[in-house]
Symmetry: C2
Subunit: 698 residues, 2 copies
């Protein structure tokens, strides 16, 4: 990948002297920003802007290690083959006209993918705006040479975006608003070859990059993405904004698991469980990036106790409301801290957190006391304070915050400081620039300030460093007999037989065709029992009235048998089960997702499945620690931790069930979906009471 | 209230020539901005800045109709009495040192409230920054004369704030960032007399004010606030940001209802049900205000179908994600609309919504075609489009949006247009200014743009105009006998007797002391029955094992009777009930809230009460339409509308129960809390199965 970012010489295929064309802008940008050799290629010119222009790639005298292509889509395949012939290791195709327009375009893009696979060339794009490297000063893009370069300032944030706007207009917006500096901005377009995984790997190792922000419309290989992140020891933060959450897939969902999966659910669950931050808006993504880059993970574990220094009671109150929303809290200040502050506070004013410093500023106005610095030092030295948030106003001398002193105190006490600033527009801008140069994150909206603060402090405790993965799960050999001839939807009995063989705890049950068989079996296991009709192809037995619960004696059993028989097609058997008494129901699921492959799901079951919508997905196969992490990521932990006097659920046993479920599905590609609904948590442990397995049609 | 906003002459008590003091700033501001007569009052000066200064209020030759007081708290009472003596109808007390510091301050503030009540003078403040009226040009405040006036531009947004920062620094921030213009900015401080109700009433009738934004830390009289809003026919939008949501009240909560009430719950439910918008952050509040002021309620009913014109596929996708989140949707464009657009679109590009206009702009670059205008006209004339959102970039000629043409088309087709703009910082500013002058709302963050768009369009359908209130509920006369001697916590039997007398449908039940009594009653109503222990002072019977469900025969009944007896203190009776089979449980409640007075609550009951946390409050007594609105405001409407084959709940019958509950509580102030949990929805209608009534201690 190095030739994309630091090429020795670049061929520009489609260079032109016409200023209205992209090929001109690419050349201009290179001439303005790139120090290596540039070879324009275009048979229509001998020279462009003082550079010799070559009629073809072959005609280039040297061997460039990068070619930027901006010619019509029809000419691209030939040009890439010429690059291969010339021995050029990488090309950036900025032209459009490929999969984004469908039809022939899609075909040509497949050819590009194939060329990259078979012939070893790396292809970036097509339909992209290439690379802007603010650190090196390179612009390998047809972006307007006049606009971007005027503002380009280096910073630690690298972006990888699947959108031209986000690598051009948006970056101009951010740079001119002084929101952040940038390192590498990679517009990856249609991803015929180079994709987010390649760039994640490159940028995780790139010492100039402190944080990586992604805007993606598709994820090529989620599994590989997570693996790369974890193999690089999650050494720097990653923030992802995924566009297209609301796209209602044309997925045919037979199981509950599949209907819940959606396009975005699996993705966001898997990313979050790995410590990757999810963004939801463009500016917010960059705010998250710059924050988690500036505020390094704290070694001290969970950091939730915030001291707020404010010049306004109102913003202290509203900040506290937001902190609660994000799981942070106003730190309880030690008495010594309060006493320290009370030496410069008006006598009537108690020093409670949030600390309103305005009255002290008014009282000491004109005396040269730096109230912010005094209060900041007092709170930072308090062992009960993990971080400080300061509210200030730029452009009003009485509330002036000394940023240098703030940075010094923050470093000295090893505690991060976050600033919310209001003020006159130009003063706010200068303030932001100064704060950034000192490594202090600044925000203009209070909610965003607290949101970013929470993301940074939360990451400190869980989202970085080597992931605890335990041992990789070995795929066991299940006896595949029962799957040999099966297809379509397996009935409950068949499904549970497979789950039982795979090692899951299933309910004691008996398949019967006659009433006396039922009665004999019920006698053996003892009443109360449950009777279910096993009609072929029927998944939702409950809605069809094919389940009778709470059968207390033989008379009831015989009556229920006949009732069920009347509702079903002839010769459908019944299933007789021990009635399992439990204190909570969960739902477990498996899905071979068309996009993400094998996944498992756990969630609150029974009536909760449809109302709480509290479920989480993970990629399968998965290790026990990841399965435990999945269960702990469910929202309703209070139901799991023992609810209304019930015992807490056995998290590890349930996690084992998930691991087995994932292994089973992974080992047998014929399995498309599995629903375990419910998994009843009984006194004797979890029991699979009902299950469905859906196989591939062919 | 008119003398506060348009006084003929003003006395400034505490005027001074010392530029470091607030009394100087007040005078300066008046001299710079006010055209009426100004009388400085201060015994230490004969003249200040060329004005005659008077030693006392009495010494003033004329009769000012407003006095602004900025003297030490200790001198305030006397000064107010002097104002009363002089016949001055209104005073603004800007000095602090009252209830915000506690102790003597609180006492002095109570004296002020009393003076206002008894002597007819209106008192604004204390501890406030007074009034800024950008329309009239008045600044009646000690805010720094150099900062605010530099930016002051009139606009339709009036603010009422309980925070100095929000009327000074924050407004400077907003004005200098060109976020909005303002009309009246009212800093109301500690609200000894004049409060948010007075200002709501004044500003609802003020023709210069188009929308009112409130920042409040306390709400003096929620009931009156809502009444004023509705009496003024909800003729202009109101947005409220309430600080202090997370304040954990010291409320002693015995009932479920009271424990759910919280500080913020009742307030936000009541405001929302009345069509008032809730904000959560400072800038967001103003963005909501300026949007709902610019975009008038549409007469056409629900407006949810949005056409998006964008220069970037990515922002189209992310906007669609946000629209779904807020209940809006990308409009399905008519074939004729698409055909119209395809005349200027590249041939490969289908005109689907979100409409990416960039390829057309590229294709026609330099030909002078206004692609935005062509596309906007095409979508606005489509009957399936209610509103349009445009994404644009300021400072790049190729995507230039003609704002004048945009405004013209929006007016012509009677459909609002919302703009999200990126761009170079100064270009964005000019763009904002121009758009505002044309009445088009502009945003810099996409999420905010969609949030505000949704608020405006949602308001169009429900949140404005006369409220449908039906007839006022008459408070019936309940036989109060059963309440006569009662106090403390009533047991279930007593509670339900009262509810039954009040007209609520309660379960058939029988209070018994012996086993034979139980058996006889059970025989009469038929098994299965429920047996409960009625122990004195016990609320949570379930946790104490004092409920036996599902008793199927006399043997079980007798066993259960003895079990319960063993668990209870001697001579506690039992309660025998018909077991009611229902398909859903709800919880209804009543609470005499210490702050808001009588309230009712409805929510999902049973296990849902603790997991879904789906409840809503309303003020009592309430009318049937309001009770219905409350039930319809619950989140889990799918549970109510018939769930898993169940019939939909009888909303009106449940609403009647709520009305009765509210009437009962209102009529008997001795009742502090009522819990009906559960109200079982059986085939025969709603039935109160368990209930608790908590009376005041004394």
């Amino acid at each position: 990948m190095e030739f994309f970012f630091h090429p020795q010489a670049i061929a520009v295929v489609g260079a032109t002297a016409n200023p209205a064309k992209g090929g001109y802008a690419i050349l201009q940008n290179l001439q303005n920003t790139y120090r290596g050799v540039v070879y324009p290629v275009n048979p229509r010119y001998d020279q462009i802007e003082g550079l010799t222009c070559y009629p073809s790639i072959h005609a280039i005298p040297g061997r460039p290690d990068l070619a930027i292509l901006f010619i019509s889509a029809e000419q691209i395949i030939t040009a890439v083959e010429d690059c291969i012939g010339k021995g050029i290791p990488g090309v950036i195709i900025e032209s459009g006209g490929f999969s984004e327009i469908g039809g022939d375009g899609t075909g040509m893009q497949s050819q590009l993918s194939l060329l990259a696979q078979k012939r070893g060339i790396r292809i970036w794009g097509p339909n992209c705006m290439g690379i802007v490297d603010a650190k090196a000063g390179h612009v390998f893009s047809f972006t307007d040479p006049r606009v971007l370069s005027r503002h380009l300032k280096p910073g630690p944030v690298s972006l990888v975006v699947q959108s031209g706007m986000l690598s051009a207009g948006f970056v101009v917006d951010l740079l001119s608003h002084e929101t952040s500096g940038f390192n590498k901005i990679c517009s990856i377009g249609n991803k015929a070859d180079v994709n987010e995984c390649d760039l994640l790997d490159y940028l995780m190792k790139d010492t100039d990059t402190g944080v990586i922000g992604f805007y993606l419309e598709s994820v090529v290989d989620l599994r590989r993405f997570i693996d790369i992140y974890e193999e690089n020891n999650r050494c720097k933060p990653v923030v992802i904004l995924k566009g297209g959450k609301s796209a209602t897939g044309a997925r045919a969902a037979l199981s509950h698991t599949a209907s819940l999966a959606g396009n975005h659910r699996i993705l966001s669950d898997v990313l979050t469980q790995s410590g990757i931050l999810l963004a939801h808006d463009f500016h917010q993504m960059v705010d998250l990036c710059r924050t988690v880059e500036m505020v390094k993970p704290l070694a001290t574990g969970p950091s939730r106790n915030i001291a707020v220094l404010t010049f306004s009671g109102a913003s202290g109150i509203v900040a506290s409301d937001f902190m609660e929303e994000f799981g942070l809290q106003a730190a309880e200040l030690k008495e010594t801290t309060k006493s320290r502050m009370e030496t410069f506070f008006p006598s009537w004013m108690p020093a409670t957190n949030p600390v309103d410093v305005w009255p002290a500023m008014e009282q000491h106005s004109g005396k040269g006391l730096d109230i912010y610095a005094l209060a900041l030092e007092a709170v930072l030295q308090d062992p009960g304070v993990d971080a400080c948030m300061i509210h200030t106003f730029a452009g009003f001398t009485r509330v002036r915050l000394n940023l240098g002193e703030t940075a010094r105190l923050s470093r000295m006490w090893g505690k991060p400081v976050f600033i919310w600033v209001l003020g006159e527009r130009d003063k706010v801008l200068s303030f932001q620039i100064e704060a950034r140069s000192l490594g202090i994150p600044v925000y203009h909206e209070l909610y965003r300030a607290v949101e970013c603060m929470a993301a940074a402090l939360n990451r400190s405790s869980t989202g970085s460093g080597p992931a605890e993965n335990g041992e990789a799960a070995a795929l066991p050999c299940f006896p595949p007999d029962v799957l040999a001839d099966a297809k379509g939807i397996l009935n409950e009995y068949e499904a549970k037989s497979i789950l039982k063989e795979a090692g899951l705890p299933t309910v004691e049950e008996f398949r019967a065709e006659t009433a006396p068989e039922c009665a004999a079996f019920a006698e053996r296991i003892g009443y109360p029992v449950v009777l279910k009709g096993l009609e072929k192809g029927r998944i939702h037995k409950s809605e069809a009235g094919l389940i009778v619960l709470n059968i207390g004696n033989e008379g009831q059993l015989l009556r229920s048998f006949h009732e069920l028989n009347n509702k079903m097609s002839p010769e459908s058997p019944v299933l007789l089960q021990r009635q399992v008494k439990g204190h909570l129901e969960m739902i477990l699921g498996y899905l071979r997702d068309p996009q993400f492959g094998p996944c498992v799901m756990a969630g609150m079951g029974g009536i909760f499945a449809e109302t709480l919508n509290d479920t989480a997905f993970a990629l399968a196969p998965l290790t026990l620690p990841k399965a435990i992490r999945l269960i702990k990521s469910l929202k309703n932990q209070k139901l799991l931790n023992g609810f209304r006097g019930n015992p807490p659920v056995p998290v590890e046993e349930i996690a084992c069930c998930l691991v087995i479920l994932g292994n089973l599905g992974t080992a047998f590609p014929a399995i498309r979906e599995i629903d375990i609904n419910p998994l009843v948590l009984s006194d004797a442990g979890p029991v699979v009471v009902d299950a469905t397995i859906i196989l591939k049609e062919s």
